[in-house]
Symmetry: C2
Subunit: 306 residues, 2 copies
């Protein structure tokens, strides 16, 4: 499974980077291959592995797009094993996955994030992942398209439950100090297969379907919105909202925290941060504006397919 | 002591805001008074209190300057009491203080942070605080001036130890995932008086001296640097370095974390974030450039008064 998963994730990185470059039309990805030396940063001992980080910056469509593939292994501390697999002893681990965040230049195009991963800790094996959309201007039909595609992928697999994954996504991408969700949601799943290893192959099929369907979820939205005109007002609002993205990733995101705390490659982990961001004191959108309509939806998650 | 401390901190807020407005010459502070309703967010029950938040934005010298005064009280969870006073029971607490961050527009002027606070938890009482400087272009004489003023304040008080506080500052304002310190340091002290309440008055004298001396530490640097010319290169580097400021405050800063997690006023807490920030993948300064000279100092703290 390790080999199948990691080779699949590499292929997905290729497919998705190709689609981004095509959509962008101007910039191309720079790739950094990195390898991990053994390290014993907080709770983990790595005994190798590495990754392929790809970043595209200052494109025509994407101000920054990052797609990471990684495959690492080593030994996990008893403390972390207790958290992950309820066993209070140090265990060998293996993790591979692909993770991406695209920050478009135009505020008319939403930011997207996706992650698909396979983990082994001791005898336990599982998949996790998901994808979610963060718009700066709300187009209902984009949110509906994104969720519809995700539901279709889920519906093709007995192991997947769109509604449960959609709810988990709304719950996960939430900023308690702002009482806001990060975006209009998507799906989020974790520990799939950990308790009952028997259907791991079925779960892998679902993850494959989901990852291969990613371009169909996002690319049509980019195509639809990339030529829309916008002004300073929309751009300013986008920069402010990107501040929330930073707040979520640095304060709450488990992947970011895990990566930074276990001594991962900082530049690859923080690739998810937007290229330009602003904070302004106590900014409140005007009533009935586009901005306040978006905030309404971020405060109260919507059933897009209802 | 509560009354003396909170009234002193209010006066300090006034003195420092007046100096900032004078130095800026264009913008003035907006003030928000806020009160806290009882809340039981994670580990704290507040039974009142509030604060005065002051923000100045888009000034001629300061792109953003925030000075907060607050005074809150309530009951602290057993878990937090164990951390703070090694007593595993829920106890009443009181906290008052003033906290500031100034982000100048010009990259030739350093960002400055300061905080002075008084706390009571059960029978224990203590002061904490400090101030530190984050330059974007290194002027050795600014760092020396800042540290010299701080050392003079410390040297006037038997309870204060410049070298110990300077080392604590270097240690605290550190980003392990970047292997960089946040700036060129300053002083940092905490729990002063907690174990031996007898010299609390002396400690208060020291804190007063330090807070009243703040303008003399920082204002001469602003005056010296504010008319220096700079270009896009310096501005770009400033925006990138501000990213590190955000990373420190959101990932590491105890005050920010404590505030956000106990349900403090988000807009007052995050006033410390810079108005405009950028992240760029794997940016490395040219050898022997001003940028690399600064990074050298941020990687290896300097004894500025040696």
């Amino acid at each position: 499974m390790k080999k199948d998963a990691s080779s699949f994730f590499k292929t997905i990185q290729d497919q998705i980077s190709a689609a981004v470059e095509e959509a962008d039309g101007l910039a191309s990805f720079k790739q950094d291959n990195w390898t991990r030396e053994e390290s014993s940063a907080r709770g983990t001992t790595m005994d190798g592995g590495g990754g392929r980080s790809r970043v595209l910056e200052e494109g025509a469509v994407f101000e920054r797009a990052g797609v990471n593939f990684s495959e690492v292994s080593g030994t996990l501390s008893a403390e972390m094993c207790e958290k992950l697999v309820s066993q209070k002893s140090s265990l060998p681990f293996y993790a591979t996955g692909v993770s991406l965040v695209f920050h478009p230049l135009s505020p008319m195009i939403p930011t997207v994030h996706a992650n698909f991963r396979y983990l082994e800790v001791g005898e336990k094996k599982w998949f996790g992942g998901g994808t979610d959309l963060t718009p700066y201007v709300l187009f209902k039909e984009d949110a509906q398209h994104f969720h519809k595609k995700l539901k279709e992928s889920c519906d093709r697999h007995a192991v997947a439950d769109y509604q449960a994954f959609k709810n988990a996504c709304d719950k996960y991408f939430y900023l308690p100090h702002r009482k806001e969700h990060r975006g209009i949601g998507g799906i989020f799943f974790d520990y799939m297969g950990r308790e009952d290893g028997e259907n791991l192959e079925d779960i892998f099929h679902f993850v494959k379907d989901m990852a291969q369907g990613f371009n169909d979820c996002y690319s049509p939205i980019v195509a639809q919105r990339k030529d829309l005109p916008y002004g300073e007002k929309e751009r300013d609002f986008q920069l402010l909202r990107r501040g929330r993205y930073v707040e979520f990733n640095l304060i709450h995101d488990r992947g970011t925290q895990f990566g930074l705390k276990t001594g991962g490659r900082t530049e690859s982990i923080l690739m998810s941060l937007p290229p330009l961001v602003s904070w302004k004191y106590n900014q409140q959108p005007e009533p009935d504006s586009n901005e306040s309509k978006l905030l309404e939806v971020l405060s109260n998650p919507v059933e897009w397919l209802a």
